[in-house]
């Protein structure tokens, strides 16, 4: 194996220190768990003169609920997400996504912020957070801006952060009573594998009528994406198996997958239908249980 090319490593203790380093140093990059970045550095796919390690910035590791909003620090690990009762109870789709990532070893190091900023179209936490209508807090020495999570993704393996910016927090409204969610992932095997495709669904019912539907898919386009056409078919309507079938079909028409080593575009298109239908049925069932 080729060695990792050299760089200098900075280990700030606070967010403001990290932002100043990122601002001041030329060709600097954050490193969180390193589970994506170290592989890319070794392959030569990415290079950097300076790495700013977020591992010591403890203020970026938290999961809390405030005013019906759940907030998660960017450096929170997948293992921490998995251990959170709040996440398991209020947003099972995010719990399920975190559980599906890599292995115990990867989940102990890999972070939510790293998963999103790495901007893989197959990132497992992206569809759940898109379905939860999450926003991202992005900080620099100049201040903090809040963007819809979808705007963080610029293209395959490209995020929209400007030089000197860090993702600091992900936040979304706590799903209300009467809502149901689901995460579905199809890999080439059960464990330790990136998704061939992944799907997340959020439904909110009011007396059998679907008040809100949000569907997000990964690995079917250049970035993880929402499916507005399918969502509109469900909103304001009495849910039924046929309606769900039709909405899942609409996703098959909306996705723009590619052929790669994990699967063909054609297979992904078909699976977009299968997994979306499965996720919708599951979320519907959970929402009905939640209403009882």
């Amino acid at each position: 194996m080729r060695p990792i090319p050299s760089f200098s490593l900075h280990r700030p203790k606070t967010l403001s220190e990290a932002l100043e380093l990122l601002q001041a140093l030329e060709d600097a990059r954050p490193i969180a768990g390193g589970t994506d970045l170290l592989v890319l550095l070794r392959d030569g796919a990415v290079s950097a003169k300076h790495l700013i390690d977020l591992g010591g910035v403890h203020e970026l590791q938290y999961i809390r609920e405030e005013n019906d909003e759940i907030r998660i620090g960017a450096a929170t690990t997948h293992a921490q997400l998995l251990r959170s009762e709040l996440i398991a109870e209020k947003t099972p789709l995010l719990h399920e996504a975190a559980a599906s990532i890599g292995s115990v070893q990867i989940r102990n190091r890999g972070t939510l912020g790293g998963n999103l900023c790495n901007a893989s179209p197959a990132a497992d936490t992206a569809p759940p957070l898109l379905a939860l209508n999450a926003e991202a807090a992005v900080a620099s020495t100049g201040g903090t801006r809040i963007i819809p999570l979808g705007d963080l993704f610029a293209g395959p393996k490209m995020n929209s952060l400007r030089p000197g910016e860090l993702l600091t927090e992900i936040r979304f409204p706590t799903p209300p009573a009467g809502s149901g969610t689901s995460f579905q992932k199809l890999g080439r095997r059960r464990g330790l594998t990136l998704a061939v495709i992944n799907v997340a669904v959020y439904l909110c019912l009011e007396g059998g009528v679907c008040r809100e539907a949000r569907i997000a898919l990964g690995a079917v386009a250049a970035t993880p994406i929402r499916m507005p056409a399918a969502e509109e078919m469900l909103e304001g309507r009495q849910l039924s198996g046929e309606l769900i079938e039709a909405a899942a079909s609409a996703c098959r028409d909306q996705v723009r997958p590619i052929d790669d080593i994990r699967a063909s575009a054609e297979y992904r298109r078909e699976m977009a239908y299968v997994l979306t239908r499965r996720a919708l049925m599951d979320a519907w069932e959970r929402a009905r249980r939640d209403t009882l």
Binding site: L9, T35, V39, R42, D53, Q105, N108, R109, L192
Partner: protein, 157 residues
């Protein structure tokens, strides 16, 4: 960079370039060859060590990142009763063939049983998802971990 950390219960101070992995520090510089070098991509788990008690791939940790933290390899658990039970079960149940994956496998199993003394078979499978074995087919490894859990449980009053 100068780094100070706890290795197998002892304070270690050493010099490491920023781009040196914890794997290379432990295996090449400090001579702990129980930490195996496989894929160097986080896929195989042969390089697994415990960082503050939690399994991580040492090929995906930079040496300076363990500053002030506790690293445990198999060598540090020689006299640990739980590890002794695991070792015995692995040997007696035929869970070892070439042995390359075993140090990592034992550490993953150890971390599991520390947190969850009576795991289900599913939980054992999840715990070793990140440890690839090219020889055994996993069945005997899973049996040995379940067996070790039972032995430890039976020894307790």
């Amino acid at each position: 960079m100068r780094i100070t950390f706890e290795l197998n219960g002892k304070r270690v101070e050493c010099e490491a370039r920023p781009n040196k992995t914890l794997l290379d520090l432990l295996r090449a510089d400090l001579g702990l060859t129980s930490v195996k070098k496989g894929c160097e991509q986080g896929e195989c788990g042969a390089c697994t060590v415990l960082l503050d008690g939690a399994p991580v791939n040492s090929c995906l940790v930079l040496a300076p990142q363990v500053e002030g933290r506790a690293v445990t390899t198999l060598d540090g658990l020689v006299d640990d009763p739980l590890m002794a039970a695991l070792r015995k079960a692995f040997m007696e149940d035929g869970a070892i063939q070439c042995g390359f994956c075993i140090p990592g496998m034992l550490l993953s199993a150890y971390a599991l049983l520390r947190e969850n003394p009576r795991p289900t078979e599913e939980e054992v499978k999840t715990a070793i998802e990140g440890n690839i074995c090219r020889c055994t087919g996993y069945i005997k490894i899973i049996e040995a971990i379940m067996d070790a859990a039972e032995r430890i449980q039976n020894e307790r009053p």
